[in-house]
């Protein structure tokens, strides 16, 4: 089964590995990469120091496969969709999400990457707890 979750922040090595998917292919001409990073937002006058992600792993795997299938159906020029999301604690400034879409041409690569990120936010069973500088926390969601 494809592994879509990774404990802790995503590393440069993992991002490089994602991008290496394009190697040895001659049917792709455009690649779009989205990287999501934890922001040090100010919440109630307190700084967000980190986010703790939790996930329903088996459903993440199923839902990510469905998202990839949907993207490949809607964007017929897309050849590769890669998704990698952090679980556990990711500090402000570190990377928690990577999406790479490769297509024959740039327009579909860019549009499909954007749609994939939106579907991840809407459908992937992942939750985040913002950890604040005073050791309090706030649960966040993607509504609104």
């Amino acid at each position: 089964m494809h592994k879509f979750l990774s404990e802790g922040p995503l590393t440069a090595e993992q991002l490089s590995c994602l991008m290496s998917q394009m190697n040895d292919r001659s049917d792709t001409g455009g690649h779009s990469l989205f990287i999501g990073q934890v922001r040090a937002d100010i919440v109630n006058n307190k700084s967000v120091e980190a986010i703790e992600y939790s996930a329903y792993e088996s459903m993440v795997n199923d839902e990510a496969e469905r998202i990839i299938a949907q993207i490949k159906t809607e964007f017929t020029d897309v050849k590769i969709v890669e998704i990698l999301h952090s679980t556990g604690i990711v500090k402000a400034g570190e990377v928690s999400l990577a999406v790479m879409v490769s297509a024959g041409h740039r327009h579909q690569a860019i549009q499909a990457c954007s749609k994939t990120v939106e579907l991840i936010k809407e459908r992937l069973p992942v939750w985040k707890k913002e950890l604040l500088e005073d050791n309090s926390h706030i649960w966040r969601d993607n509504r609104g």
């Binding site: 939790s54 329903y56 839902e63 459908r123 992937l124 069973p125 992942v126 939750w127 649960w139 993607n142």
Partner: protein, 72 residues
């Protein structure tokens, strides 16, 4: 199974019930044990598939209470 804020307010990630025949029966059993969850929004997945309806349950089914997602 409880996730996110629901795991926090119930103090657990797993509960096991036997002899539950329908999803509405299960919801009642859960709210009897953890009445505080009625104050939270959540969807339900049975065996990793969303369901908005009552449905029959069998032994071994995995039911997850899912607060609004926050991936990304």
């Amino acid at each position: 199974m409880f996730f996110g804020v629901l795991a926090e307010v119930t103090g657990t990630s797993f509960l096991y019930f036997s002899g539950v025949r329908t999803l509405s029966d299960l919801r009642q059993r859960i709210t009897d044990k953890h009445p505080e969850i009625v104050h939270y929004n959540f969807r339900i997945a049975v065996n990793s598939l969303f369901t908005d309806d009552d449905c029959a349950l069998s032994d071994g089914d995995e039911v997850a209470l899912l607060p609004p997602f926050a991936g990304g």
